[in-house]
Symmetry: C2
Subunit: 82 residues, 2 copies
């Protein structure tokens, strides 16, 4: 059900964006793709914990906040990784 995604995609992945807020607790990870020759759009694809993938609107304030929230939870330079 989840898209098989190789490291390098050669086309746009999103045909539209999900506009409603998604609580971060449902988000497994977020993938950011800059625009480039493969796709003129910046793409933000969230993988939810149930395996669904949703394209998010990169300009939406809540999307930026979720990304900031993920980064802000990081602790500086862990020396060891469990």
């Amino acid at each position: 059900k989840a898209l098989a995604r190789s490291a390098i995609e050669l086309r746009c992945q999103c045909i539209g964006t999900h506009s409603r807020f998604i609580h971060p607790k449902f988000i497994q990870n977020v993938n950011l793709s800059p625009s480039g020759p493969h796709c003129k759009n910046v793409e933000v694809i969230a993988t939810l914990k149930d395996g669904r993938e949703l394209c998010l609107e990169p300009t939406a304030p809540w999307v930026k906040l979720i990304i900031k929230a993920i980064l802000d939870k990081a602790n500086p330079k862990p020396e060891t990784v469990s």
Copy 2:
């Protein structure tokens, strides 16, 4: 050479982080994983245009700036997608 990555990973992906600046022009995409039961660390994995995957330090200012730069290049709500 690139990791095969399923939608949902059940363990930490990074055993360390790359600390030197990488120019955004070399970055194909950036994946953000919040911490969770699968891994106590926030993980930021950049896929480079040559297919390499690098773990970045989520607390590094340049990493935050690159993520911000990607998002800031987005245009609001494109009506059509090429």
